[in-house]
């Protein structure tokens, strides 16, 4: 069902206008009605939650007797009750792991609910928490996703063999051939941290139980998606119509996070059943930060095949997603939300993807504004920047060369996204021109001339909106999908009714969280019915017991402007056409002649005119005077789902969203040399979100997303200790940016309407959450330059992290000093030895030759400024090495000896710097392995003396381990990219021989 209706016949009075919001007056007067403001039934009790202090433990004993004796305590809900009355939540992958609303045997993250104390007020309930006795048997926690994915790691869920609970491979086009035939390849490993767009209002839930009907009635500031309603009702073991779920009129923000309220809906429903009274729970900030929800942290290895001009032919993604302790619905949706458009704004036809979902002892993840986008773009756009650096060309050229061509829309991406509309090339040109890129480049030049660190970063992104409910099934194999029944679509609903006095009421099931849906819905209806904005009342409370809703209802995936406003439009058109048919009948005119405006319905020629309320009122007051087709009353509900959102196909292509907006961002950042603070000098963001329904609200969405993204880029992260303890439990630890940290972005717009949504609009609320973190990271990378390992650019780029990346730079050796004293011994220093191996995708002979090639050798040595040949396989090198905060600049001798091609050789070096001396040697063995690749084994010994050695043995050994590891991983990376050349010495010899021949 996909009716294409346009606004052509309506005089547009409101749509597209910067309309101030109908919501605001009440909110500004303190008259908002948020969840904690609503009246509660007399006798309502209050809950407080006992939570696990441990990341991984077995509950061996839980005793509530003491707690029950505390003043005002009326009951305690425990895992035993939950097992009796409820079921575990259904999970999105086929694995036998159980997630209950309260821990029943084990706890798997700090803050996991263990029991609920129910008392006469919140203070008393909190008092009694300490009286609940819980004994734990501690188990080894797993915190790091890569460690958790190891076969040897302790498992969180005993019935599942591994912490990797889902592992899927996808191949589109011919990536292998593309990689084999590519002129160059480049790979990058990045980590995206845990953070959350945590709203200022925490969760609030009021649960009630009705034993007569056997049903639950819960009010919660839950935001959807309402697919989770079935997850909740199944957990409560009631049919969906026995779980009445209601939302309050106002919400204090969500940004995805309030999806995670659903386990508490079940918990408080059961708590009410336990004590036989309504139970209210208001989450506090510590509970919220440690246990509500989080973005999925991801480790990505991304690889590109490209040519010397930067044209990318293929991409490989290896994504390891850490969903925390439980795979909570709708996860692993983070992994698949972007699946169809993994190639971003680029026309890249060959793609290989491996997605693994791993569980760790951390808070379960869930919806978070940008959902899946920041993770994908962080990898993709960092890689595009690296390609430019590698080729020494302008990053914008790399971007431009790969964009989806302007005449290709709608464009089917490799993995199945159907990019609905756009003109990316024009977007770039507009952005450059109107955002003042030239000026920014001049600012960078000027800053650099003054010796300041200043960088520019770029990002392009497509911003998906209106999720296809079918994308979540990508975690299943095609066979599993077929068996479970194909899922797809995104049903949105809206109801418009006209009362006997002509007042218009609108209801939408989009559960807004501050975006202004009431205003936009009113704008849409006012234009269709020709009535004033003030005469319309929009209701956004959702009551699953009474209102029209569907599984896609709720506030997520930026679906309002495209889908919900479209449904509102459709419902208003139904009212419109009923009124037209009444008028045509009464006036004996044709439908085209009838106009609606300024509260009147009239004919173009002025012969007939009636007020809107009289005409509409007739359906109530005088149905007998109406045409026979009229049933009386005036209320229409519209459901709308787009035809383009089909289920995944046989080749595993999925159009994961209906609309794809375009974003082009760039920014200039300056880095404070003393503190490492990143200051955003200017941020330009261009958006094409199709038709803008209310430009003021669009800008508001962009600004809000941008501010959150600045937080994600520079300040915000959930930190965990190695034992899984949680370090970010207050807003003094979890740093949300304030006015002092958020600059005003320069916002630019263009409009290429979506052909697939009724009003041509697309979502716009999440784009900067996706594009901005990596744009800032690219700028920081540009500012720091080549001394920093690309993979070390990790978010958040806090001052201390950036300062560490910068190091304390030692100036170059002054002329004439130490010229002939590079023979050095580092006597009396600490000696470190270790060994390791690395796999290189090339034959031992090629590897061997490459090490002898001075260009490769220079590229292998991190921080190598210059390498000068002093004899056969002997060099003098100028190298900066960082250990902790210290950065020493070495004048070093590097030598390759004991050559036994292609089996082994020795790489040795000795150097001196103002910070101390170092010498070391590594024995390298090359062994041919499967696929003609090489395993490079090395063992090394390093001796360090002087100031550097004072940083301490542990730090030194990890630093040297990292440094030596970097040498060989850089070699591996060189080998998978550039062609191997002959060694310089060989080349010189050849040249000498050639010349000799000539003579």
């Amino acid at each position: 069902m996909n009716s294409q209706v346009s606004l052509h016949d309506e005089p547009r009075t409101y749509i597209g206008k910067r309309q101030s919001r109908v919501e605001d007056e009440a909110l500004l007067r303190g008259l908002g009605r948020y969840a904690d403001d609503l009246a509660i039934p007399p006798g309502t009790l209050h809950a407080a939650v006992v939570r696990s202090p441990h990341a991984h433990a077995r509950i061996t004993r839980l005793v509530v007797d003491e707690a029950l004796k505390r003043p005002g305590v009326r009951g305690v809900l425990t895992g035993e009750d939950v097992k009796l009355w409820a079921s575990p939540f259904p999970v999105g992958v086929r694995q036998s792991m159980e997630h209950w609303c309260l821990a029943v045997d084990k706890v798997r993250h700090v803050g996991e609910p263990v029991a609920v104390v129910i008392a006469e007020d919140r203070y008393l309930a909190e008092d009694a928490l300490e009286a609940v006795e819980v004994d734990y048997e501690l188990l080894t926690p797993v915190v790091d996703p890569e460690a958790a994915a190891d076969d040897e790691a302790p498992t969180l869920h005993e019935d599942v063999a591994s912490n990797v609970v889902n592992d899927r491979h996808f191949r589109y086009g011919e990536p292998d051939t593309a990689f084999e035939t590519a002129q160059r390849t480049l790979s990058l490993k990045v980590r995206y941290p845990r953070n959350a767009c945590t709203p200022i209002e925490c969760y609030v839930v009021v649960g009630q139980y009705d034993p007569a009907e056997g049903g639950y009635d819960v009010m919660a500031n839950f935001q959807g998606p309402y697919a989770l309603h079935s997850v909740m009702s199944r957990a409560l073991q009631v049919p969906a119509n026995r779980l009445r779920l209601r939302t309050p009129p106002d919400s204090g923000g969500s940004f995805g996070i309030k999806q995670g309220a659903f386990p508490y809906v079940v918990m408080m429903a059961l708590a009410a059943r336990k004590v036989g009274a309504p139970v209210k729970w208001v989450e506090d900030r510590l509970e919220h930060l440690q246990a509500a929800s989080s973005a999925t942290n991801r480790v990505t290895t991304i690889e590109a095949a490209f040519d010397d001009q930067g044209q990318v032919s293929a991409l490989r993604f290896d994504q390891l997603d850490d969903c925390g302790a439980y795979l909570r619905a709708p996860e692993p949706a983070t992994t698949y939300r972007m699946h169809g458009n993994l190639t971003g704004a680029y026309a890249i036809r060959h793609l290989e993807v491996r997605n693994r979902i791993v569980l760790t002892n951390k808070t379960p993840t869930g919806l978070n504004r940008g959902f899946g986008g920041p993770q994908v773009y962080f990898a993709l756009e960092r890689l595009m920047q690296r390609i430019a650096v590698e080729l020494e060309i302008d990053p914008l050229d790399v971007i431009r060369r790969n964009l989806v061509p302007s005449d290709a829309f709608p464009y089917r991406c490799a993995a199945g996204a159907l990019l609905d509309s756009g003109d990316y090339q024009r977007g770039i040109e507009l952005g450059i021109e109107q955002g003042g890129l030239d000026e920014l480049l001049a600012r960078r030049d000027a800053a650099r001339r003054e010796g300041r660190r200043y960088g520019i970063g770029y990002t392009v992104a497509v911003e998906p909106s209106i999720s296809n409910m079918g994308y979540i099934t990508m975690a299943q194999t095609p066979e599993e999908r077929r068996r479970a029944g194909l899922k797809n679509g995104a049903v949105s609903t809206a109801t418009v009714s006209v009362d006997p006095m002509g007042g218009v009421s609108v209801h939408v099931s989009s559960t807004p969280q501050g975006q202004g849906h009431r205003t936009v819905a009113a704008q849409v209806v006012a234009d269709v019915l020709g009535v004033s904005l003030e005469s319309i009342r929009v209701d956004v409370e959702l009551d699953t017991g009474k209102d029209a809703w569907s599984i896609a209802s709720g506030n997520y995936s930026s679906r309002f402007a495209g889908a919900v406003a479209g449904a509102v439009h459709k419902a208003a058109l139904k009212i419109h056409s009923r009124l037209v048919s009444i008028a045509t009948q009464q006036w004996k005119v044709s439908a085209e002649d009838i106009l609606f405006s300024e509260g009147r319905v009239y004919t173009q020629d002025g012969a007939h005119s009636i007020s809107f309320h009289r005409l509409a009122g007739a359906t109530h007051w005088a149905p007998g005077t109406l045409p026979e087709s009229e049933t009386g009353g005036l209320r229409e509900t519209a459901f709308w789902t787009p035809a383009e959102l089909t289920a995944p196909d046989e080749d595993e292509r999925i159009n994961s969203s209906l609309c794809y907006g375009f974003i082009f961002d760039y920014c200039g950042v300056a880095i404070d040399a003393l503190t490492g603070r990143v200051e955003i000098d200017r941020y330009v963001t261009l958006h094409d979100a199709g038709r803008m329904l209310n430009p003021q609200l669009v800008d508001g969405q962009v600004r809000g997303a941008f501010a959150q993204a600045v937080g994600a880029a520079l300040y915000e992260a959930f930190h965990y200790g190695p034992d899984g303890s949680f370090f970010s439990g207050t807003l003094a630890d979890y740093l949300i940016p304030t006015t002092m940290e958020v600059p005003d972005p320069r916002i630019l717009h263009m409009e290429t309407p979506s052909p697939f949504t009724p009003l041509g609009a697309k979502g716009v609320g999440e784009g900067n959450n996706m594009s901005t973190p990596v744009c800032i990271a690219n700028a920081v990378a540009d500012a720091l330059g080549d001394t920093v390992e690309p993979g070390d650019i990790e978010l958040p780029l806090t001052p201390s992290k950036v300062r560490t990346l910068m190091g304390i730079e030692e100036p170059p050796r002054p002329e004439g000093v130490g010229e002939d004293s590079t023979e050095t011994t580092a006597g009396g220093g600490s000696t470190l030895a270790a060994s390791d191996d690395v796999e290189i995708p090339a034959s031992p002979q090629r590897v061997f030759d490459s090490i002898l090639d001075p260009d490769t050798l220079q590229a292998m040595i991190p921080g190598c400024h210059s390498l000068e040949l002093t004899g056969e396989n002997a060099y003098r090198a100028d190298v900066t090495v960082g250990v902790g905060m210290i950065r020493a600049r070495f004048d070093a001798r590097v030598e390759l000896t004991d050559l036994d091609p292609p089996r082994s050789l020795r790489l040795s070096g000795a150097g001196r710097s103002g910070m101390g001396d170092a010498e070391g040697a590594a024995r390298i063995h090359l062994t041919e392995i499967e696929g003609g690749h090489t395993r490079l084994d090395y063992d090394y010994e390093v001796t360090i003396g002087g100031k550097i050695a004072s940083v301490g043995g542990r730090m030194l050994s990890s630093a040297s381990k990292m440094l030596i590891g970097q040498i060989f991983s850089r070699l591996s990376h060189q080998m998978s990219g550039a062609k191997v050349k002959r060694s310089l010495w060989q080349r010189i010899k050849h040249r000498l021989i050639d010349r000799g021949g000539d003579a």
Binding site: S20, R21, E23, D24, E25, L27, L28, R29, G30, L31, G32, Y34, D36, D37, P71, Y123, C197, T198, P199, I200, E201, C202, D250, S251, G252, G253, F255, D284, R285, Q513, G514, Q515, G516, Q696, L697, D699, G700, R703, G704, F706, A707, Q708, T730, L731, A732, I736, T738, T739, M740, V742, D744, P745
Partner: protein, 168 residues
């Protein structure tokens, strides 16, 4: 004298110009007292540890975090909350400026911010943008990115300044 945390006290204060009185325990936070005992729910609670600023009210003329103050400490004081702003039938200039500059979205932080701005503009009628940002840095807003808020405050200050000049 030993005070128990759950001793109950009669607390009387002037709320938005009227004398109000209710019972509070020694430990009851002012924000809870205002919201749940006196029924003025316009003041919100976002962190209960003094960082977010959502709970800001004016006590004896100074912007104050009501989550960091006990109800009993407000005994005999003048407390102003967001409900005191504007007139019966309309918004005041500051509130109107917030609406016009799209300085709020979910509105949860707004009451606290309005109270800080209200007090600030009384003290500093002609602030620079830097001063406004500095004052606002005591508040977290997760929705707006702050631009609209800063603009609204500056616009009101300018308008009031113009009025004063006209009157002279």
């Amino acid at each position: 004298m030993y005070i128990r945390h759950d001793d109950r006290h009669q607390v009387t204060l002037t709320l938005n110009g009227s004398e109000r009185s209710a019972h509070a325990e020694s430990r009851t936070q002012l924000c809870d007292f205002l919201r749940h005992q006196l029924g003025v729910t316009g003041t919100h609670v976002g962190c209960e540890h003094g960082v977010c600023g959502a709970c800001t009210v004016i006590v004896d003329g100074r912007a104050t975090r009501s989550c960091l103050m006990l109800a009993v400490q407000a005994e005999g004081r003048r407390v102003e909350t967001v409900e005191s702003l504007g007139e019966m039938e309309g918004l005041d200039d500051l509130q109107r400026a917030f609406r016009d500059h799209h300085a709020l979205q979910c509105g949860f932080c707004t009451a606290g911010i309005l109270m800080s701005c209200h007090e600030f503009l009384r003290r500093i009628p002609d602030p620079s943008e830097g001063e406004v940002r500095d004052m606002l840095s005591g508040h977290l807003c997760r929705c707006t990115g702050y631009t609209g808020i800063v603009q609204a405050v500056l616009a009101v200050a300018r308008r009031r300044q113009n009025h004063r000049e006209e009157e002279q």
